[in-house]
């Protein structure tokens, strides 16, 4: 929709809001980056409504949490137990700490991609070949069948919709983290309504629309590239190049359910951040590797190899 592209956007920043709690009348201080706020006095789950502002698009969709608090914790506990032995001590036995359910803003992008490609297509064929070889001391001529490849150039087009591209709109969740949590089942998409986020933490988009659009275009291009790889005829192909024209772009804010946990595994070490897809239970985190454990393992291996070699030398004598 063309009107969506006229806005030039800036990241959410600005003064905190001072709002009255509709339940008890107490003053709420709301961060500009948040959409929800629980009243510290009466615990009423407030949803902040703001007038439309340039650069802060309203969410269009939200994907509700399907995984409960308890289930999310269980998923993380299982994930921690299955980490490699080389992770820092304490991780595999750590207890998941505080779990927070956050609706993370993301952009849902769809486009009609019109690509032109050029590639070299390999068509195999078989040929009889004569060769000479030595058999029983005599030189003989034999024939054999060899497969050769004929390379032909091919130009063509691929036109299709690329829907369901999700890119993060939050500085709190990097796009590679979001990709690790994907896929989300978009059939469960609901039209945004304050009731969907009531009682949960919901962020406002903190990345500009332009940044997200660039990221989304890149992801769409990558998907087209993947499709083209599948699309090539012949027995093999090489030098596949393509350029795409993206038409009819659409970009909508969608709130995604993510459980965020901080796992404390050692005194003094920063807590390990673990993310859980609030819909499917997919867990993502980077458990730090212990340098000492790896060095020790390598040393033990070296000692074993050397010992084995010495024994072999000793045995060979």
């Amino acid at each position: 929709m063309p009107e969506q592209f006229e806005e030039t956007t800036v990241a959410v920043s600005g003064p905190r809001l001072h709002l009255g709690c509709p339940s008890c009348g107490a003053q709420l201080v709301v961060e500009a980056s948040l959409r929800t706020m629980r009243c510290p006095y009466c615990a009423a789950p407030n949803v902040v409504e703001r007038p439309p502002a340039a650069g802060v698009p309203e969410p269009v969709f939200a994907l509700g949490f399907a995984l409960t608090h308890v289930a999310a914790k269980e998923h993380v506990a299982r994930w921690l137990k299955t980490r490699s032995r080389f992770t820092r001590s304490g991780i595999r036995s750590a207890e998941p700490g505080e779990v927070r359910g956050v609706y993370v803003p993301a952009y849902l992008y769809s486009v009609l991609a019109h690509s032109r490609f050029r590639a070299s297509i390999g068509e195999d064929y078989q040929e009889q070949e004569t060769y000479t070889t030595t058999e029983n001391g005599k030189t003989v001529t034999r024939t054999r069948t060899v497969t050769r490849t004929e390379w032909r150039s091919l130009n063509g087009e691929l036109k299709g919709y690329v829907a369901d591209v999700l890119v993060t709109a939050s500085t709190g969740l990097r796009n590679d983290e979001l990709e690790a949590l994907e896929p989300f089942d978009l059939r469960g998409l609901a039209r945004y309504t304050p009731a969907l986020i009531s009682g949960w933490v919901a962020e406002e988009p903190s990345l500009t629309r332009e940044q997200c659009l660039a990221q989304a275009r890149q992801e769409a291009e990558e998907r087209v590239g993947g499709r083209l790889g599948q699309f090539m005829p012949g027995d093999s192909h090489r030098e596949l190049e393509h350029e795409s024209r993206l038409e009819w772009e659409a970009l909508d804010v969608c709130l995604l359910p993510v459980w965020v946990l901080a796992v404390r595994y050692a005194e003094g070490a920063p807590p390990l951040r673990v993310l859980v897809n609030g819909q499917t239970g997919e867990v993502h985190g980077k458990a730090p590797i212990s340098v000492w454990k790896v060095v020790a393992a390598v040393l033990v291996l070296l000692v074993l190899v050397v010992a084995g070699w010495l024994l072999a030398q000793g045995g060979g004598r």
């Binding site: 407030n46 509700g64 009609l112 064929y125 036109k159 609030g278």
Partner: protein
Amino acid sequence: MSTAVPTVAPCQRCASALEAEDLRCPICGLTTPPPVHGAVERETARVVRCENCGAAMEYSAEAKAPRCDFCGSVTRVETTADPVEQAEVWLPFTVDPAAARAALMGFLGKGGFFRPSGLAEEAAVESLQPLWWPAWSFQAGVDASWTADSDAGSGRSSWAPHAGRTRFDFENIPVPASKGLKVKECEALAPHYQRGSAEGAPRGPEGAHVERFEATRSGARRTVLEAVERLSRERLQQGVIPGRRFRNVHVAVALSSLHTTRLALPAYVLAYRYKGKAYRVVVHGQDAGVVLGETPISGWRVAAVVAGVLVLLLVVLLVMGVFGR
């Protein structure tokens, strides 16, 4: 078949028909325009209240919906609905049960050397069931990009690569949704329906059975898209891709203006018994000339023909042997 009056504006990007509950276009993924609501004037904090008891309400991951902790009532949120499909267009029966029975008799009496003689007289019609079977009918513009290997222009290898883009317009393409009838029967019946005779309500003999759609809306869309891809692939191989032999045919379709109609099509299913065995015949509900079904085969006649062919072969061999010397 007349297209139903669209009550929802089509998708702005691909012009495909949308259902009222669609949040996004099922073909291209474009967001449907949201219902208009007044913009907020100034920042406010709002508490979502239970419509039932007025208590503050939160979203519950257990209920997968906003739920009131006090009275337990759950608020429905707007999601893409996926109801089971229902017929919207009915074609009336123009063949009455008597005519259907007559059509069966005609079918049994007529031709076919291997049919036992006296089949029409001895067959006992056991049941005659008028029914409407479900089908989708779609129209769409298809922008098909394709690549394939074919024998045209081949060099040392017997295959040469080809690529192209073609536009097809599909109109009134039936896609059977019946579980009771075989796909072959559906395909044979479908072209003989009078497309102009569509009505909004069933009209036919009493006791006519209505076979329900078993697919949900999303399942229906998948089936229709599969049909589009299959048909595009078939049409591409009938004259679009150069050459006579093909392999590695890849087709990618971009649809526009997809419009699907849910049909109920009339037919008679008859069962008859001949020498203790039951056979099934389907008679078209609008054209008594279309009769599909199985007939018994006369074992004697088959044996006679096989024996005749063998004797003939033997004679030929003998003659050849005689002259060969």
